[in-house]
């Protein structure tokens, strides 16, 4: 099995009102050092293969077709072979 950990985030040019709201809340809590907050999505996908290059290709295609919207989001992922 291969486990993919996928991170989907807004492109830097896209406004993130949720991230801004969280940032304000963190400031209210006293975390004055907080410079910025960007909110994204985290997905774990398990694949029925130990072939890392195959998994790499498949997860890449998943991100492009569904998991991220290339108009507003970028993505990155890492793969781990698991039992």
């Amino acid at each position: 099995m291969t486990k993919a950990r996928i991170y989907v985030t807004y492109k830097s040019t896209v406004l993130d009102p949720q991230g801004n709201a969280i940032q304000t809340a963190l400031h209210h809590l006293g975390f004055a050092d907080v410079e910025s907050v960007r909110m994204g999505k985290y997905l774990e996908v398990e694949l029925h293969t130990d072939d890392t290059s195959r998994a790499q290709e498949e997860v890449e295609a998943m991100c492009q077709q569904l998991l991220a919207n290339p108009v507003i989001e970028s993505y990155r992922f890492d793969l781990e072979t698991v039992q």
């Binding site: 406004l15 009102p17 949720q18 569904l66 919207n69 108009v71 507003i72």
Partner: protein, 235 residues
């Protein structure tokens, strides 16, 4: 003439559209379940509002892969008239049939109420009953209506008359105060390059009868019928 209204799990304005087309326009219409693989026999398609697939992942992102969407895409590519309302707008951008994307409202609130819209362009056949510069009043009801597109894409859309509606005040001024959701350039409705695919966040089906407080949305439906009766659009 027969209009198809595509029904996804979670659509909730499907029957409102059906009512307007049947009862107000006196035109035949059916609901098309999202598992259908063809849309043969329909002269125009409507993707209604709602919360298809619970807005999971991104609004419209799952519905975009419903079996029927392949047929909707072919229909649109052939020049068929496609109207997207609210969630239908989100689905059409996710499907790549319209440029840009719709994000969470900037105020992080679900916005439900009446807005004023300025008609920026009548490029789309759906706008044939309106005039450029006209101010209309329609209701909105959405959480993810903040339209965004790359500056280059926006320039192209502007040059090509694809920006159809902008949020404005009662006097027609397009201002930040009149923007309910943070959409870039107050954009509320757009069309594709050919004009046959048109979508908007406001709900023209909810303002097509005097009893509902406004008939400003009726023109969109009448224009659809007009386009189908005057010039055959499909090759």
């Amino acid at each position: 003439m027969r209009i198809g209204i595509v029904q996804f799990p979670g659509s909730n304005c499907d029957y409102d559209c059906l009512h307007v087309i049947r009862a107000v326009l006196q035109v035949q219409a059916d609901l098309i379940w999202h598992e259908e693989t063809q849309v043969t026999g329909y002269d125009a398609l409507v993707l209604p509002g709602g919360f298809s697939y619970g807005d999971y992942l991104r609004s419209g992102s799952i519905a975009r892969f419903s079996p029927v969407m392949r047929a909707v895409t072919e229909f649109a590519d052939d020049g068929g008239l496609v109207l997207g309302i609210c969630n239908g707008f989100q689905i059409l951008t996710e499907a790549g049939l319209l440029p840009g994307a719709l994000l969470r409202n900037s105020a992080l609130e679900f916005r439900c109420g009446w807005v004023h819209l300025r008609v920026e362009s009548v490029k789309s056949p759906f706008m044939a009953t309106y005039e450029t510069g006209q101010v209309v009043r329609m209701p909105i009801a959405h959480g993810d209506g903040s339209y965004v597109a790359d500056p280059a894409v926006l320039n192209r859309m502007r040059d090509n008359g694809q920006i159809i509606l902008r949020y404005c005040d009662a006097e027609g001024d397009v201002s930040a105060a009149a923007n309910p959701n943070g959409s870039i350039e107050n954009i509320a409705g757009i069309c594709n390059e050919n004009g046959n695919v048109f979508a908007l966040m406001p709900h023209p089906e909810r303002c097509a009868e005097p009893e509902l407080g406004s008939v400003d949305g009726l023109g969109v439906w009448q224009a659809m019928v007009l386009a189908l009766t005057s010039v055959p659009l499909r090759v």
